[in-house]
């Protein structure tokens, strides 16, 4: 009887959660032991991961609660948010989803696939999924917490205390951001662990192993090429723009920015196309740091202009700073690569000159297709079609920067949720926060898709006047649809420029392809996305919240 009473008092006492957690962890470890005995190592790994993340979550929560032990209003509100977060049903569902996602992802991978792709898949989906889940969790938590306080009138008791309204909002934001920090850290630790476990499994071949070690689980700086005669190149582009302006002044005046961009894209495309009758030279500079390693990586994604050609038959010759490469027994060897696939050539750094410059010259050695008289041109599309990569650091440090960028984005999402909840009811606040998040997420795509309307030039005011005049002209000609379309496009463009763009900081994409997330970019993201926009949104939310009546009439 006494034992039962004692057990009950423990369960109702301050250590109830410690007892429950210890029981759950003990049971999980016992099951893991059974799995190991039975030889189900994959299931054992998965369950260990889930348990580890859950334990990390509990320990981290205790750490954050300790961090917020200070006697300030903001810390008090933030701590209450943390307590609320782990008890909110929607948050709990997303939290469980997160804890299950990362350990179970390796189980769904196709084991016949190349290890390189499996590791990339795990990285992209684990961190991409984490970003999405945490963004939704953040929005629901921010809106649920503040709107819940208002709707349940709890806020009356809180704001009757000596707490400024801005402190209340800042406390909510801080609590959510710290909760996100914990979950981002957990997801990062889980991802790093499972990626390393996966990377230890056998690769398809040596090339696959090299790709995993040197192209995925690494951090590489990417250098884009410049033209070998930049003056002539720029002059040619300027001349082409002038010609277009003279030939079609009305068309050009409608959207000069878009016309200039189109001409440049055409020239860049031509420059990246290696025709059979001429060689193309690409200059990569700033490679002094790259010389410490024996090789740098030349990434190519060649495509041929004839779709009928054999996909494996893209052949070309390479000169490095004017010297043929590679040489075998005194003979200059051609390179053969599959088209439309990413290939990497390891170039010796001894070819890089003292100023850190490497000029790469390519000559087309394609075979002549049947029925043709000359070989097909090879295009290396600007962007990821041709770039030079060299190792700058390790995977774990890159992962840390990637997680920092993710956290900054979540700080913005939290601010959007807090600001929306400070102004609106729960459902409309969630909707508004989701719209801001969706805009931030899809801003890159939207900018490209609406590029036709991208008319904001150097002078915003002049552009506004030009646009209004052009729209009025269309209206006078009774072309109302076109006038409305033009104005709508302009407004969209301005909105897109004002709203934050997550696409500018695609850290997960970089990490999964072994590209360095530069520290400078992470800092910029922290300053703009993590602090600037949240501050702006916070001030907007506070301006409304400070004037808002937090009581509804009873009648």
């Amino acid at each position: 009887m006494d034992v039962t009473r004692q057990a009950r008092s423990w369960l109702e006492g301050r250590h109830r959660w410690t007892i429950i957690a210890a029981t759950v962890v003990g049971s999980a470890l016992a099951v893991v032991g059974l799995f190991v005995q039975a030889g189900w190592l994959v299931a054992a790994t998965g369950l260990t991961g889930v348990t580890g993340m859950a334990v990390g979550c509990v320990v981290g929560l205790a750490g954050i609660r300790g961090l917020l032990a200070g006697s300030t209003g903001i810390a008090g509100v933030a701590r209450a948010v943390i307590d609320e977060a782990v008890r909110m049903r929607a948050a709990l569902v997303l939290l469980v989803l997160l804890v299950l996602l990362i350990p179970t992802l390796p189980l769904v991978l196709d084991h016949d696939e190349r290890l390189e792709y499996r590791v990339q898949f795990l990285l992209a989906w684990a961190l991409g999924g984490t970003g999405l889940i945490l963004s939704l969790l953040t929005i629901f938590l921010a809106c649920g917490s503040i709107c819940g306080d208002i709707e349940s009138s709890r806020i009356h008791t809180t704001l009757a205390k000596p707490l400024h309204r801005w402190e209340y909002l800042a406390g909510k934001w801080l609590g959510i951001v710290l909760f996100d920090l914990l979950l981002v850290a957990l997801a990062g630790a889980g991802t790093a662990t499972f990626v390393r476990v996966l990377a230890r499994t056998p690769a398809t071949d040596q090339a696959d192993r090299d790709a995993v070690d040197h192209q995925v689980l690494t951090a590489r700086a990417a250098v884009a090429p410049t033209h070998d005669r930049p003056g002539e190149y720029e002059a040619a582009i300027a001349a082409a723009i002038r010609r277009l302006e003279e030939d079609d002044p009305d068309g050009f005046a409608r959207n000069p920015e878009a016309a200039r961009r189109r001409i440049r894209q055409e020239y860049d495309w031509q420059w990246h196309t290696v025709t059979p009758d001429m060689v193309s030279t690409f200059v990569f500079s700033g490679l002094v740091d790259a010389k410490v390693a024996p090789t740098v990586q030349l990434q190519l994604k060649p495509r041929v202009n004839n779709v009928d050609i054999d996909l494996a038959d893209v052949r070309f010759a390479v000169w490095l700073n004017g010297r043929p490469w590679p040489m075998r027994e005194g003979v200059h060897q051609d390179q053969t690569l599959p088209s439309l696939a990413v290939s990497v050539l390891a170039l010796p750094t001894e070819f890089i000159d003292e100023t850190g410059t490497l000029k790469i010259t390519l000559a087309n050695r394609n075979l002549v297709p049947a029925g043709e008289t000359r070989p097909t041109a090879i295009t290396l599309p600007p962007g990821d079609g041709l770039r030079l990569l060299y190792r700058t650091g390790g995977f774990e440090a890159n992962l840390l920067r990637c997680l920092a960028v993710m956290w900054c984005k979540l700080a913005l999402v939290a601010a959007a949720g807090v600001a929306a909840a400070a102004m609106l009811g729960f459902s409309t606040a969630v909707l508004l926060a989701l719209v801001i998040y969706a805009y931030a997420l899809g801003s890159g795509f939207l900018r490209d898709a609406l590029g036709e309307y991208n008319v904001v030039g150097e002078s915003f005011l002049v552009t506004v006047i030009e646009r209004l005049r052009a729209a009025a002209g269309l209206g006078l000609e009774f072309r109302f649809y076109e006038a409305a379309r033009m104005l709508l496009g302009f407004v969209t463009d301005v909105v897109l420029r004002v709203l934050p763009a997550f696409g500018d900081y695609d850290a997960v994409g970089s990490l999964a392809t072994g590209i360095e997330v530069p520290g400078r970019a992470a800092l910029a993201c922290g300053a703009i996305i993590g602090l600037g926009y949240p501050l702006l949104l916070g001030v907007l939310g506070w301006l409304v919240f400070d004037r808002r009546d937090l009581v509804r009439p009873n009648t």
Partner: protein, 351 residues
């Protein structure tokens, strides 16, 4: 007149109109209300549902902005956190975080007053003991009965030892023993110079406790004054003696008739149900019978009794200066230093 001159709450011509989404006036909840509550008064705000009591209270707390009129609380604007440091508020419902335990709840609100940890812990323990919840202090508030939640609500309202205590239906949902205890506490606080604004439907509470009363209806103050002013019937006289034999009663009636007084009711006074109930419970307690759940509250927390020894013993942390200030305020002179002179001037001019 300001807080230094003994007025803790002053409203002049306060009106509140709620507007809809399109900013059209929807409900005029409070209209041209004037209130003046002096230091140490227990002031009753009475009125039926929808009469504007809660709206008035929420304007005093800075949760609502008046559409017109001016308000001073402890000589400052209601939104001023310097004033809120000395205000305690018990809302009409228990607006608490259901997932926090009773102890965590008090710790949370203590934190909002920037109290050092040691002071918070000390006061939390004393208050939990006072409201009889120390045995269930680790249970989430959401699992509590309404009465137990009210006790937590009362404890959080007292955590800062407020100079001005605003209580909205403090005895709602409580058993008569707890209700009596709260009434005793309110009377005790009043004796210590604390100001209490009591908003209630329990007319007996008001009669027992309040120095002054305002009765609201339709958003306006319809009557205001001391309980005696409002309740004493000048046209009647009551004489209370030991029980009289029938013959004496007849003689008295005859005497009154000779003085031209025809109306004379002779009745046996009844005890109040509250005192009977409390007597029975006290007898049962002496006999050692126990109830489950919250027990009856303990003694009033030391810091609320103005015990200088306790105040000195807790005011040792980093926030000791602030605490000492709060305690000083509680014991006598108003927190008058730093009152908003402009606001006071404008109120004085208006009144």
């Amino acid at each position: 007149m300001n807080a230094a001159e003994g007025i803790d709450v002053k409203c002049v011509g306060v009106t509140k109109t709620f507007r809809d989404f399109w900013m059209r006036p929807r409900v005029r909840a409070v209209e041209a209300v004037d209130l003046e509550i002096r230091r140490g008064q227990i002031y009753g705000l009475l009125g039926p549902n929808g009469s504007g009591k809660s709206t008035t209270i929420k304007m005093l707390l800075g949760l609502l902005t008046p559409t017109s009129g001016r308000i001073a609380v402890l000589g400052r604007r209601p939104r001023d956190v310097a004033a809120k440091r000395h205000v305690g508020y018990l809302p009409e419902e228990s607006y608490l975080y259901r997932f926090l335990s009773a102890r965590e709840t008090l710790d949370y609100y203590g934190r909002l007053f920037r109290m050092p940890r040691a002071v918070r812990a000390e006061r939390t323990a004393r208050l939990l003991e006072m409201v009889g919840l120390e045995a269930v202090e680790h249970r989430p508030v959401g699992e509590f009965s309404k009465g137990m939640q009210r006790r937590v609500g009362l404890a959080q309202a007292l955590i800062n030892d407020p100079q001005l205590l605003i209580l909205d239906e403090p005895t709602s949902g409580m058993d008569p023993v707890a209700a009596r205890q709260i009434k005793d506490l309110i009377a005790d606080l009043g004796r210590r110079g604390k100001t209490v604004l009591l908003c209630t439907h329990q007319l007996s509470d008001v009669e027992d406790l309040c120095d002054r009363v305002a009765i609201m209806f339709g958003g306006r103050v319809r009557a205001e004054g001391t309980c005696d002013d409002l309740l004493v019937q000048e046209a009647l006289t009551t004489i209370q003696t030991d029980a009289l034999p029938e013959g004496v009663v007849t003689e008295i009636r005859g005497l009154l008739a000779r003085h031209g007084i025809d109306h004379c009711d002779v009745t046996r006074p009844r005890r109040r149900m509250e005192s009977l109930f409390l007597e029975i419970v006290e007898r049962a307690r002496v006999e050692g019978l126990q109830t489950s759940g919250a027990r009856s509250g303990g003694r009033v927390a030391d810091f609320l009794r103005g015990d200088p020894a306790t105040a000195a013993s807790v005011a040792t942390g980093p926030g000791a200066v602030e605490e000492a200030e709060a305690d000083t305020a509680a014991q006598g002179p108003a927190p008058a230093a730093g009152v908003d002179a402009g606001l006071i001037d404008s109120l004085t001019r208006r009144s």
